[in-house]
Subunit: 98 residues, 2 copies
């Protein structure tokens, strides 16, 4: 399954250029994005939509929330780093806010 | 409002004895508990119930989730530490699992 293969550095850089709101974390093994909403209700509504995407794709975020802030980190444990699954998931999450 | 006054150390110790699954964090300014579920679906279902309690009480957790694990930290920013609001919230959360 190509989808759980770790990205090469070249692939990674290429994909990241297409995800300008995400930044590399954990020495390049993860990507993260911070979100801010008007209040907790809106933040959690967003989280619920992300949870559904995660469950559908069987690819789950590491995430933190306090009140109106949500921080999402994506990595692929099976690949030991970033994979295309993270990139696709980031795109799906971004699309929620488009 | 007594509910946003910081707990004294004596009060804190007394309340904590009644919350054996929670431990002190941040030099006594917060309490935290770690939860583990069968899978993400169950973890997020729990989070959704906690979110409703939080919104109802206007008291929101700091929390982290990855797959089946949820870590909740409670503190009262307005009180600069632990308050009775945290204790009551912890009890409500515990009751979800009883």
């Amino acid at each position: 399954m190509g989808s759980v293969e770790q990205l090469t550095q070249e692939e990674r850089d290429s994909w990241l250029r297409a995800l300008p709101d995400w930044s590399l974390a954990r020495d390049g093994d993860a990507i993260e994005r911070k979100f801010e909403f008007d209040d907790f209700s809106k933040a959690f509504a967003f989280m619920t939509r992300v949870a559904m995407i995660a469950e559908t794709r069987d690819h789950h975020p590491e995430w933190f929330n306090v009140y109106n802030r949500v921080e999402i980190t994506l990595t692929t444990h099976d690949a030991g780093g970033l994979s295309l699954r993270d990139v696709k998931m980031a795109r799906k999450i971004d699309a929620l806010l488009a």
